[in-house]
Structure formats: C-alpha cells, structure tokens
Point group: C2
Chain length 336, copies 2
C-alpha cells in the first residue's frame, strides 16, 4: 500500500502501536505538541541524537527495514551506555521519499520497537515528513544517571588502564562483505554481518562501569578505536599506548582477514561502528573490575593499553617496536 | 572555505562557540557522548522535535542561512510554547551536502543562536554528517513545566471559547511571495515575508496561558487553523464553530488578498506556519483572560469561536450562513 493512501496522520497512528513500552512516568506520549514525562529528581538528564542519511550511512537496497530501524536506535542507546546512563525515552524523526514502500517503513519501526522493548525504552514522539530522494532518520534518546556516576571523555588520567567491553573491527568487516556483495555463506561471515547490522548497545556494561568509582573515562567505539581513544586523549589532555597483541580480535575477524589478506589489528584500530565501550580505570582497581565484569557478563573486559602523561598515542607490537597511532577513524567531510 | 578543509571536528568546534547561553544546570554541553543537565525536580520534562528537509520545507536558494537556522529552532520552540512550557535545551542534527558552503552553514547557526539567545535556550548537542543532495536539519527542544500547568490538545470542553494569540494566514502569503518570486517592495510584503521566515515563538504567551487554570487546551498553528483546531477537536472528542468575521486577518494580508484576488478567511483557515497559539478557555473566565492578555502583551487575544458538543467543525459567516470546515491544513504524503 502506498504511503499517500493513508497520509501522515494515518501513518502516525499505524506506527504508534507498541511504542509505549514502559508507561510509568509518562504523561504524554505521541500525539501532542510535545511529549511529557517525569524523571527521577535524584538523577540528571542525558540527551543524545544521531542522524542517519541514505547513501551516506546506509543503502536502502542493502539493509532491511528492520535492521535499519534497529541500528538507528542502537547507535543512540550506545551513546547513553557510554555515559553510564539508563536509556528511557526515544524520539524518531523520519523523512520519507515517495518511492519508499509502507512495508519497509513499518519494518523500520518494528526494528526500533524490538530493540526498545529489550531495553525498556519508549518511543515517545518524533516527526514524520517527506523527502525528495533520500530516506532520513534522526533518533534522539533521553536517559538518566546519578551525577556522580557519569562517565565522561575528559576524566582519563595517566596510569589508567584502557579496556574494551568487546571485540573490535567486526563491524567494518561486515560492512566490507555488504559493499562487495560477498554472500554470508558461513557462520563467521554471518557473525560479522550481525556485528555491523545489529550491534548490541552496551547499556548493562555501561551501568556496571558507572557504578565503580575507579572507572574514569568512557566512550563508545562509533568512529573507530584510534579515533575514539583519540577523543578521550584530547578531552583529558593525555596520551595512550595500546598493545597490538592485546587488541581484541574475534575468531571471525581473524578468519576474514586471513581470507581477504587484511591486517586484523589495522581493522580493529580503524574500523568504526563496533559500539563496544572503551573505558579507563585506575590501575589499582583494574584487575578486580575486570574479574567482576567477567563474572557478571561471562565475557572478558579486554585490557588493551594504558593512558600516558604525553599527548601522543602509540601502539606497541609484540617485537617491541612501536608506531604512532593516527586518528584514522571516521570523520565526515574530510578529504581522504 | 570548503567544509572538507576543516573536517567534521573542526566544523563542530567552529559552530560550538556561543551555543551555551544559560550555563546554569548544564553539566556537559557539546563534546561528549551525550549532553547532561539537571532539571527542576518540581517540573516535568517536555521534548519535541522537527525535521526540515531541503526541497520539502525550504529551497536553499530562496532562504538565507540565518533565516533557515532561526526558523528550524523557532518551530520547535513553538511546540514547547503550545504546551505552556519553558524551553531550556536544544539539539541540532545537520546533514550537509558537499555543495553547501561553510558561510551558509555558519549563518544557519547564527540564526539559531540569535533566537536561542532571545529565549535563553542552550544549543547543547547534536550530530553533524554528510548528505548526497539535500540539506537536512533536525532540531530537538527540551523544556519543562509544572505538571498541573500543562496545556494539552485533549482538554477542550463544550462551551470553551477559542482564541488565537495572533494573526493567521500571513505566513502562507509570505510563502506565496517567495514561490512566485514577487519582490518584497512594500512594508506590507516585507511583513508577510517576515511572518513566514522569522515567526516569533509564543513562549511568553504560552506561559501566560498555562498559569491560568481556566485555559484548557492549546496547540500551535503549524499545519493551519482548520487542521490544528481539528487536532484539538479530535483529541478532545468535541466540535467547534468559528466566526468568519472574527478570524484575525492582518492589514497586510487584507492588502495582499485584495491585490492577488484571494479570500483572506480561506487563507487564514488553510495557511500553516503562523505559529500563533490556539487555546480554549472556560467561558466564565474568557473575558478577564483576554483583557489581562491585552494588558500584558499590548496585543489582543483574538476570540474566534467556541467549542461545541458535536464532532463537526463549522464556520459561520456574517450573513448567518454556515459551512463545514475541512481539515485542509498541511498533511505530508496525502494526495491533493
């Protein structure tokens, strides 16, 4: 059915179903001039927003509506996770070109609702409008956190241990498969695709880290390890060393790099959109926190390096040689 | 200077200046994974968002960057005004095509900052990215209000008097001038252009109305009087009558309609983007509130009709004849 048959208000009615997942504290959801809700007075508000544009962030013929909707919300939940917060409300603006079928649009909202349900986040409002060519999605997430628990980029201190909550580089490998039309005909390739299309926001991991005062700075790996660690270094006025053999590379990525002749460490450093959390931890508490993390999540908290007093970031290889790290992650507009 | 010379992070640094207008209660502004701020625990949070797409909402060669930025924020502030709230924080996502000069982009932020400064609203975060063809702007505004003061669309009751805080139809006339390349060579035409390009969000008027318990429902006139009153009628389960000779038509619009042979009442009914507030008020208090409004704002609160018990909306003409009102305001996607 074409969208114009039901019109803007019919469309809003259709997609509004199932958007109110956690009705407590909600005064007005979709349908008024603004959404209205109460927040815990003991906590501060967090707001993050991400804009996804067709042919820049995704190709409509290469991603299902479900995956697109899921990912649009996931990248925002990841930002709340990186602050250590609890995600609460989301707001979705969408600009729809005429050739975009209603099925695809409904699938977008299905993908969002699927993830929203998992993390008890409401879809509380937004905007729907037309677009000449490209499908556009902007998602906003409101979250909360106790002020003293907040994890910021500027709190890393020399001597802190750097950790990642998960493998790095898988998402870039998944994107490579998509862009080169390589069929996902093995469990490994499917895992890499999944890492790219359906990243799991590390909200529980963010909460775990935020509740430990020894955890200093945090960021999510959206631009790439080198670039995101660079943000922490710049904001904190520090440097960093990474150990090449400690950077967590999945078995799937090793297999992929072997087959296509890529360097897995380079992939892990430069590949964005993994949406793990990078954090820095006071050295005295680092081991205990890593052990507690392993116990709680049944996955390692990967220790990958240390914060240094300089301004440089370097990577040290197993043979003892080292190399400066360029912030080679994703940067819109910049000449390659 | 081309945008790619300074890159995404250079651009963010450039436009960040002057974004923090009211630093109290702000913990993290632009530059971390999310913005963080405290809110008054006695008030509830309001969030609204609007997405503006090139060639749908604006033509880049027909609007200055300043006006575009101003208006992108204004339409969101208007939604907070319509709830009776105080606008506090804003978040700007922008997707920039390669051919968009840095000057134009900076002017967009100048326009936003100009309006943000007037209403003490921070620009606290957002997202910047690329776009293949169209310039895209999504603005989110966070506001607050005491729960018992909130003005919603569903609170109109039969017998309520319907008011508008300003003239209707001017914005549509301004748009007509732009789309038909009619030069703004008179004070009247310039006023109409201004109504379209630089609408003043009725935040003070919204606060005035919210503080009076006799004011029931409210909405801003973004889609057009007939459509926006239709939203109140539908959400409240009521009908309405409007008086054709009471609908506030500016001298500028009368002049315009005379010259181009349009019906000013039709223009006022169907023209969107005036961003006045429509509200409904208990009849016993209507006169006092209108008089207080006039005293405070030195402008009339225009009494335009009444809420009825039926479901229909009708307009009554001076000769006693009447006609049903169709919700003929703006509706994206719908066939004309």
């Amino acid at each position: 059915m074409p969208l114009k048959r039901i019109g803007e208000f019919g469309f809003i009615k259709k997609i509004s179903r199932g958007c109110l997942i956690r009705p407590d504290s909600i005064i007005k959801a979709i349908g008024d001039d603004a959404a209205a809700f109460t927040t815990d007075p003991a906590r501060v508000s967090l707001i993050t927003t991400d804009l996804l544009v067709e042919r820049i962030h995704f190709l409509r013929n290469a991603i299902s509506g479900f995956d697109l909707g899921y990912k649009s919300l996931a990248v925002n939940l990841s930002d709340i996770a990186a602050m250590g917060g609890t995600a609460r409300e989301s707001f979705v603006s969408i600009a729809i070109p005429e050739d975009c079928p209603l099925d695809y649009l409904e699938a977008i909202y299905d993908g969002m609702k699927d993830l929203a349900t998992k993390f008890e986040v409401n879809i509380l409002g937004g905007d729907t409008t037309g677009s000449k060519v490209d499908l556009i999605i902007n998602v906003v997430v409101h979250g909360t956190i106790a002020r003293e628990e907040m994890l910021c980029r500027d709190a890393a201190r020399p001597g802190d241990i750097i950790f990642s909550t998960g493998y790095l580089g898988d998402s870039k490998a998944g994107l490579h498969l998509i862009l080169n039309n390589i069929p996902a005909d093995s469990a490994e390739w499917r895992n890499l695709l999944r890492a790219h299309l359906l990243p799991v926001p590390q909200l529980a991991q963010g909460r775990f880290l935020a509740q430990r005062s020894a955890v200093k700075a945090a960021i999510d790996t959206s631009d790439g390890l080198s670039s995101d660690l660079g943000h922490i270094a710049e904001e904190s006025g520090v440097g960093a060393v990474l150990y090449a053999d400690k950077i967590p590379v999945s078995g799937d990525l090793k297999e992929f790099c072997q087959q296509f002749n890529f360097d897995p460490v380079e992939y892990a450093l430069s590949g964005g959109e993994d949406y793990t959390l990078l954090c820095t931890v006071s050295p005295a508490e680092a081991e205990v926190i890593a052990a507690d993390f392993q116990k709680k999540f049944k996955r390692p908290l990967f220790r990958i390096g240390e914060i240094t007093a300089g301004k440089e970031m370097n990577i040290i290889f197993p043979d003892g040689s080292s190399s400066p790290i360029a912030s080679s992650g994703w940067n819109h507009f910049k000449d390659e």
